[in-house]
């Protein structure tokens, strides 16, 4: 999914009425947001955090110092690890690590839903379908739970499955 489309989806789910226009820079198509009252903003997680503040939903960036740092850590993970052009081994390791991390958690910060969950959800989209298919038969791993949880919460798919399936 192109970054601009992802940000448009985010705007919608944040309930922002005024839609922004995004341009893209460079080969990696890094999104750029031109704000009217200041310099432009560059970068997916930077713009996403800006939109969250614009929508007055700061709680999505975490409430405590610890939570805030964790949210930012996973946002960074999204743009550096998940978005990296990786080989199969890297992808396997990434999914394995996430799976292990989420073992005892509902969301990335534990029990609170944050921007990190949203962006990781989008970012994983390109791997998750095949992962689900492969793991469905063997009982649902935590990562799938996370994925479905997030999905249900935001209602992203046209036909969301119930997370307590």
């Amino acid at each position: 999914m192109a970054a601009a489309a992802e940000l448009a989806l985010l705007e919608k789910s944040l309930g922002l009425s005024k839609r922004n226009k995004y341009s893209a820079r460079g080969d990696r198509q890094i999104p750029v947001l031109q704000t009217n009252n200041g310099p432009s903003l560059t970068g997916l997680t930077t713009i996403a955090a800006h939109l969250v503040k614009q929508a007055n939903k700061e709680y999505l960036l975490g409430s405590t110092a610890e939570e805030k740092a964790i949210v930012q850590q996973w946002l960074e993970y999204r743009v550096t690890q998940v978005d990296k052009h990786s080989n199969k081994d890297d992808i396997r390791t990434l999914l394995k690590d996430l799976n292990a991390y989420l073992e005892d958690k509902v969301y990335l910060t534990g029990y609170n839903f944050t921007l990190a969950d949203i962006l990781l959800y989008y970012g994983l989209h390109r791997f998750i379908v095949s992962y689900e298919e492969r793991t469905e038969q063997r009982g649902r791993p935590p990562l799938t739970n996370f994925y479905l949880e997030t999905e249900a919460r935001r209602g992203y798919r046209s036909s969301p499955r119930s997370h307590n399936q």
Partner: protein
């Protein structure tokens, strides 16, 4: 909480710096683990540093750990900080890992290391200089600064990997590196081993994949267009459409120029060149040329501007020169004043006054300032021991004594400093001192002198600085120099000398003494103004209405920023003091220093003989202006910049724009129908123009020149994309498009001609003549881009502006002026002789040759012993050989041998 680090992990640096910065280090338990230990249970691959929180959670991202420390101290992050951190993680880190791996693990050097990160470094530099703030996210330090500093430190602490042209990055890096938490982190992590301290960690890491190659081949950073808002575009279009109408009436230049109440009154001085030296390129860029750019800019803004300079003529060096040349000091000054004036005229320096310090006004004002200081108790008396040459019957200034260095035993140490060990020397400490003029041994004599009581004035100075410095445009080096002088405490400074050639000291018992030049040289500005107008006090005793800009090289900062202000404050006479002290660093010549005595470098009078026009010299010197750090003049680079920036970029654009009007539209500017793309270009040009203004208002002359070149690059691209030469042959719509593109381009050329005026005044006038730019538009520069050549305007004859510099031409100039000699000459010892021979040594050698010649002749006349004669002849031949070597150098500076 517990921090796990590993020896030499680069991430330790920012983490420790951040911890130190927020003083959270005390509660932090630090454990060192091996580079291959997996500390985070859910991560397959090892990762350090890692912070284990009391909740059991882990932070394994370096910048998140830093962020956490900042958050704990209550510092939230804004969008700009987040943007830097994201950029650091996604762009900088991949490039930096590759560079560090190359350097530390593979032992590569130079471009192999710098290549991958150059673009990222340039990005930081441009962002810093564009937003004009000392820190990445604004006026104060933020998390972004710590994280980026920590990432970059291992590489940039080696000056070889901090490209000198990145001035803003340079000063940002220095600022952070000198902070205590950063210093401590650097010591802990690098342990004084430099980047090699990272080796134990990095060699255990997989080789990082090279950063995206395609990113590097993109156009350079500065070409990236900023995104513009609709409002900005609309405003640019409105301003453009208002055109010539919006120009204010042209202000006639007054004579004399005097301050006007309610207007901006700008008084500009350039350090007074010492009369008996021909200035070299470094002197020229350091003061007169830099000040000239600002003066011209100031006049383009219609500020009430007075620019003055003059020759500094008193002092011992003049007396000696006079002796050498067999003239009186006054005759020497008269002679050299003209040489200076001619050089500056050739360089097109737009002085309102170019005066001199040997005038009755100088005596009157200096003595008045002295009397007031004396009456107010700011002058002390003391006895000083000095070297006196009985043979020459005078006290010797430091530079006229040579002897054996008391520290290292070097035989040719100067009276103020040893060239070999570099230590400062007090002339009376020299062993076996010699008078440089007559070679006899001077004696120590004591003499009464007057001192300016600086310690007593220190408090007033600090008060004044406290009011002046904040918000002013003093250059960082000037601030630094003044700060360090104040930190060390001021000491009384001697203001008199045992000389004849100077301003007489009006005090009983001091009749045979004069003021020391550094006391009265800065008063020269006042007396030069007084010789220009009897209303000089309206400039110099009017601090409320006058903005004083003083230009100089950094060695002159103490006299202008400290000594003169102290004198002036001590007089209690409401003098105008420097508001903006603009000091440059040094300009080197090729790989070394300019040296008159060693005959290395290009001097003012020789630049004219190279056949290269003054404006090209101006351009190149300003392009490499040592702004923020030392820079070097290089012939090869001058050729490159002339051929790429002037010929291919600027000249090409302006010439094409004009040629299209002539060729396709019969010399009349065509009708323009702006499309949204054109409007965006208008806004981009406006943006760059604003940037140019911002920089010049801050006297960032070198950076502002880049804005001109950027606009012309936009212009070239615009022509290239729209291809008016094809469209002119197309249908009606195509032809209209060709017209619009040509019209807009030629208007950009007109704008460039005005922006160029401070830098290349002759080229600017040539362009304006070619385009027949209306008079007011030539002399006023607004902050908006206006249509100054409306449809129907007839332009003149267009011709190329610049000439290509050829390799062999430059190579022969390089030979002639001594640059890169060491590389050309096969025998190093010959180079040694050549480079140490100065006019004085030549004179000495010539005298010895004559003497030896006489000896030989006498011996022959006496029919002396053959062997004795042979020995003396051998001596003579050796001397002649030495003389030939000394004279045979490409640059000969003694009189009468200037041109070939």
């Amino acid at each position: 909480m517990r921090l796990f680090v590993s020896e030499g992990a680069p991430g330790n640096l920012p983490v420790l710096a951040a911890a130190g910065r927020v003083r959270g280090r005390a509660e932090l338990l630090i454990s060192t683990v091996g580079p291959e230990e997996c500390m985070v249970p859910f991560l397959t691959r090892p990762k350090v540093p890692v912070l284990q929180l009391d909740s059991g959670n882990y932070l394994f991202s370096t910048s998140s750990i830093c962020r956490y420390f900042f958050l704990l101290s209550g510092w939230e992050q804004d969008d700009l900080t987040n943007q830097w951190l994201e950029w650091e993680a996604t762009e900088l880190q991949p490039a930096l890992s590759a560079a560090l791996y190359c350097l530390v693990v593979q032992g590569k050097k130079g471009e192999d290391v710098l290549g991958p990160v150059r673009r990222a470094l340039t990005h930081i530099d441009h962002s810093l200089s564009r937003q004009n703030c000392p820190f990445l996210a604004g006026e104060t330090e933020s998390l972004a600064d710590i994280v980026l500093w920590g990432a970059l430190y291992p590489l940039l602490q080696d000056p070889a990997y901090l490209p000198e042209e990145l001035g803003a990055l340079h000063s940002w890096f220095q600022t952070l590196s000198t902070q205590e938490p950063c210093q401590r982190a650097a010591e802990t992590v690098l342990k004084q081993q430099g980047v090699l301290a990272l080796r134990p960690y990095l060699q255990k890491q997989p080789q990082p994949s090279p950063p995206d190659e395609s990113a590097v081949t993109n156009e350079p950073e500065e070409e990236e267009l900023a995104t513009l808002s609709e409002e900005e575009i609309a405003m640019a279009v409105t301003a453009w459409e208002n055109g010539l109408e919006s120009l204010p009436p042209l202000r006639p230049r007054q004579n004399p120029v005097l301050p006007v109440a309610g207007e901006r009154n700008v008084l500009i001085t350039s350090a007074l060149p010492y009369v008996n030296n021909v200035p070299h390129l470094g002197n020229i860029i350091g003061c007169v040329l830099s000040a000239d750019v600002f003066a011209r800019y100031s006049r383009l803004r219609q500020w009430n501007t007075l620019y003055l300079c003059g020759t500094d003529e008193y002092g011992t060096a003049t007396e000696t020169k006079a002796m050498e040349e067999g003239l009186t000091p006054q005759e020497i000054c008269d002679k050299y004043h003209v040489i200076h004036a001619d050089i500056y005229r050739w360089f097109n320096i737009s002085f309102d006054i170019f005066g001199r310090t040997t005038t009755p006004q100088q005596t009157k004002i200096t003595q008045d300032i002295f009397q007031r200081l004396l009456t107010r108790g700011f002058v002390l008396r003391d006895t000083v021991e000095q070297l006196r040459c009985e043979h020459c019957a005078r006290f010797l200034a430091d530079r006229f004594v040579e002897g054996v260095c008391p520290f290292c035993g070097y035989e040719e140490a100067r009276g103020d400093q040893c060239d070999k060990c570099g230590k400062l020397i007090n002339a009376i400490e020299l062993k076996k001192p010699q008078c440089k003029v007559c070679r006899s041994c001077p004696v120590v004599k004591s003499s009464q002198h007057l001192f300016l009581d600086l310690p007593k004035l220190e408090k007033r100075l600090e008060e004044w600085l406290g009011k002046t410095l904040p918000g002013s445009d003093w250059t960082p080096n000037a601030r630094f120099i003044i700060r360090s002088w104040l930190r060390d405490g001021l000491k009384p400074r001697c203001i008199t000398r045992d000389l004849k050639w100077g301003t007489p000291v009006p005090l009983e018992g001091f009749e045979d003494k004069v003021f020391y030049v550094w006391f009265d040289a800065t008063i020269g500005y006042l007396s030069i103004t007084a010789n220009y107008t009897d209303q000089w006090e309206r400039w110099w005793k009017n601090p409320e209405q006058v903005d004083l800009y003083q230009f100089m090289a950094k060695d002159n900062v103490p006299f202008h920023g400290l000594v003169f202000p102290c004198s002036a404050l001590g007089t209690e006479d409401n003098y105008t003091l420097v508001s903006h002290l603009i000091a440059t660093e040094y300009l080197n010549y090729e790989d070394g220093k300019f040296s008159k005595s060693r005959g290395v470098g290009v001097f003012g009078d020789m630049a004219q003989d190279t056949g290269i026009p003054a404006d090209i010299w101006r351009f190149y010197l300003l392009y490499i202006r040592p702004e923020g750090q030392d820079s070097a003049f290089s012939w090869a680079d001058m050729l490159l910049k002339n051929n790429s920036e002037l010929l291919n970029n600027l000249g090409n654009f302006i010439n094409r724009a004009g040629m299209f009007v002539s060729k396709f539209f019969g010399g009349y500017v065509p009708e323009m129908v702006l499309t949204p793309d054109d409007q965006r270009l208008l806004a981009h040009v406006t943006l760059e123009l604003r940037h140019y203004h911002q920089l010049l208002e801050k006297v960032r002359i070198r950076d502002a020149l880049r804005s001109i070149l950027t606009i012309s690059r936009h212009g070239n691209q615009y022509i290239q994309v729209n291809e008016p030469w094809k469209r002119i042959k197309g249908n009606e719509a195509d032809r209209q498009r060709a017209g619009t593109v040509t019209g807009l381009a030629v208007n950009i050329a007109a704008l460039l001609s005005v922006m160029l005026q401070p830098y290349m005044p002759t080229v600017s006038t040539t362009i304006q003549d070619q385009l027949q730019l209306p008079r007011p538009a030539c002399s006023i520069l607004l902050t908006n881009f206006l249509c100054t050549l409306p449809a129907g305007h007839q332009i003149g004859t267009v011709s190329p502006l610049f000439q290509k510099l050829e390799n062999d031409q430059i190579e022969s100039l390089k030979q002639r002026f001594g640059g890169g000699q060491a590389k050309v000459s096969p025998k190093p010892e010959v180079v040694e002789t050549v480079t140490t021979a100065g006019p004085q040594q030549i004179q000495v050698l010539m005298d010895e040759v004559t003497k030896q010649g006489n000896t030989v002749r006498e011996l022959k006349a006496q029919k002396a012993d053959k062997n004795q004669i042979a020995a003396e002849v051998a001596k003579l031949l050796e001397l002649k050989k030495q003389l030939a070597l000394a004279e045979g150098k490409p640059l000969e500076t003694s009189k009468g041998k200037k041109k070939k």
